[in-house]
Amino acid sequence: MDRALKLRLETRFGEQLHGPVRQRHDETEIRIAPADVIEVLRALHDEPELGFVVLADLAGVDTGDTLQVVYHLWSGTTGDWLRVTAEGLPREDPRAPSATFLWKGAEWMERETYDMFGIIFEGNRDLRRIYMPPDYTSFPLRKDFYLADDAARSPGAGVRHMERTHAPTDLVAGSVRRSKA
């Protein structure tokens, strides 16, 4: 793990970072606002002393309150893993810029994230559901969507029409797990 990377990230992105640069095991993590994603990713990708040319993964996360988009990048210059977390996307209208301007391959990862979390990636020209059928209305990996044996209690369920029209009146809505990390 590279201490120098921490310094470089702090000096380069200073104001844009939310909280400190965290390092644990062999990973470095920075947190940014969704509005800064384009600028930060472009700098990480293009600037030779950073050189994060490999996008290894793009994941959505539901913390229970807000949504996040998490990018895992690998640097060809220093051989470091970097996790960029765009945090604080509101549940009602989660929007983040698309990473397809740098990595065309992010297109399907964003489609998957949209399918599972409902995060709208602005700039992705093929943002439709990829796994679930086109008439599906829920976002299954959100924390307020429960598994089938518990689905009637899930406040985020939109597909179980039977249960929603005949909702049991005495059933208390289940609680949503919230992230502490």
């Binding site: 095991h25 290894a56 993964d57 998490v70 990862m109 439709r128 990829i130 796994y131």
Partner: protein
């Protein structure tokens, strides 16, 4: 004629005596709803002389249940639209609702021909969350069984690839290889396919006599057997001329499409996680990262065959250096990692397998994201196919080696 038909049915176009249900009109290529995106609208607009052809999801050479809508101009492919989700099981959601130990068997069937690597990612991520040191013997056993699994997977690739190019013999030969390996892994793990062998902090069982005797028996003739298998194809003029120049990728494009593994290395970039960001005991082991520069289907095939030889080297060294000791770290039965996040990446037979785990302090992972290389590589097919002949679609797709279990998580 139509007035006499029962309501809700229509006569088959092929045989008017056969009645079909109106709503049973399954694989019409054009979706029955307005286009949702710019790209979908563009794809489902026909140009002059173009037509759609639906392939799958039950096509025998799509390697699983993949459906592809092809837009053709004569015999040339203009564009494709892969339709996924026929195998989607929601593994990530199931893992969020399962115990840490239970998730290992949930992720097993993702890439069913290389299950050990599917287990390895999440297990590594959990070990980072728990800050646990895995015993060295367990790491050696992991690498040993993992490399065997890699050879089994590449052997199957060779057979499938040749089968998609029209040769039946290689798949029979490669299954001999694969069968011997899965039998010895069955002696080690108890299963032929979905091993469920790695545990958080170690592995499930120590090396046993049956495994070692089968392994020794196979290793004594493996090199010769693999040589003769590859000679079957490498010196086959029909195969070589058919596969070369198909689906050419350069390094820039491969990086743009987030490709990893043999498909990236076939373009000339020696990016292998085992060397680029070493994990487990790979720093202690000598092996080369083979690369090729052509970036076509043949290069991807030849590269995988080179990797098999490197895997044999790794297995040799594992057996030689295998230390004594425990195979499991001491851990409580119920795992409650401190809240935190961990990312683990490793080099599987198809490329980078990743797992991103978040813990919230309970005994279930708060989020487990599995990154699967098959999903990424299948995406690149859309960029590789245009311009090629219809008969080459499967050859190109097979050369990227996607496994549908991993594509549809």
């Amino acid at each position: 004629m139509t007035a006499t038909l029962p309501p809700g049915t229509h006569a088959s176009a092929d045989d008017p005596n056969v009645l079909l249900q109106d709503d049973f009109d399954s694989y019409e290529p054009i979706p029955p709803y307005p286009p949702r995106t710019e790209r979908e609208a563009e794809f489902y607009t026909l140009g002059d002389g173009e037509m759609y052809l639906n392939m799958g999801p039950q096509h025998p050479s799509t390697h699983g249940v993949l459906r592809v809508v092809l837009k053709l101009d004569g015999e040339r492919v203009v564009d494709i639209d892969p339709v996924l989700g026929y195998l989607h099981r929601g593994v990530e959601k199931l893992c969020e609702n399962a115990d840490y130990h239970q998730t290992i068997s949930q992720v097993d069937p993702l890439e069913y021909v290389s299950s050990l690597f599917c287990e390895w990612g999440p297990v590594m991520a959990y070990e980072k969350l728990l800050d646990v040191q895995v015993p060295r013997r367990a790491e050696y056993i992991r690498v040993l069984s993992g490399e065997l699994n890699r050879i089994a997977s590449h052997a199957l690739f060779m057979g499938w690839f040749a089968l998609d190019l029209g040769g039946l013999t290689p798949i029979l030969w490669s299954f001999i290889e694969r069968d011997e390996i899965v039998e010895m892994l069955a002696a080690l793990t108890g299963q032929r396919m979905l091993f469920n062998y790695f545990r958080i902090g170690g592995v499930n069982g120590d090396l046993n006599h049956e495994f070692l005797s089968r392994l020794g028996d196979w290793m004594s003739r493996a090199v010769g057997q693999i040589e003769s298998n590859t000679k079957l194809l490498n010196e086959n003029e029909i195969f070589v001329r058919r596969a070369s120049g198909l689906g050419v990728i350069d390094t820039d494009m491969a990086l743009k499409y987030c490709m990893t593994g043999p498909n990236l290395r076939a373009t000339g970039l020696p990016y292998d996680i085992r060397r680029a960001h070493p994990y487990s005991i790979y720093p202690e082991i000598e092996f080369d990262v083979p690369t090729r520069t052509e970036g076509d289907s043949l290069a991807r095939y030849l590269l995988r065959m080179e990797e098999v030889k490197q895997s044999l080297r790794i297995i040799d060294q594992c057996l030689e250096q295998m230390p004594d000791g425990p195979i499991m770290a001491k851990l409580p039965r119920l795992l409650r990692p401190r809240p935190g996040r961990a990312w683990a990446a490793l080099e599987g037979p198809r490329g980078l397998y990743g797992a991103y785990a978040i813990s919230d302090g309970t005994d279930q992972p708060f989020r487990l994201k599995i990154h699967d290389p098959s999903f990424i590589h299948l995406q690149a097919v859309g960029a590789l196919l245009p311009g090629h002949l219809l008969a080459d679609t499967m050859a190109i797709m097979a050369s990227l080696d996607p496994i549908m279990g991993g594509v549809d998580k």
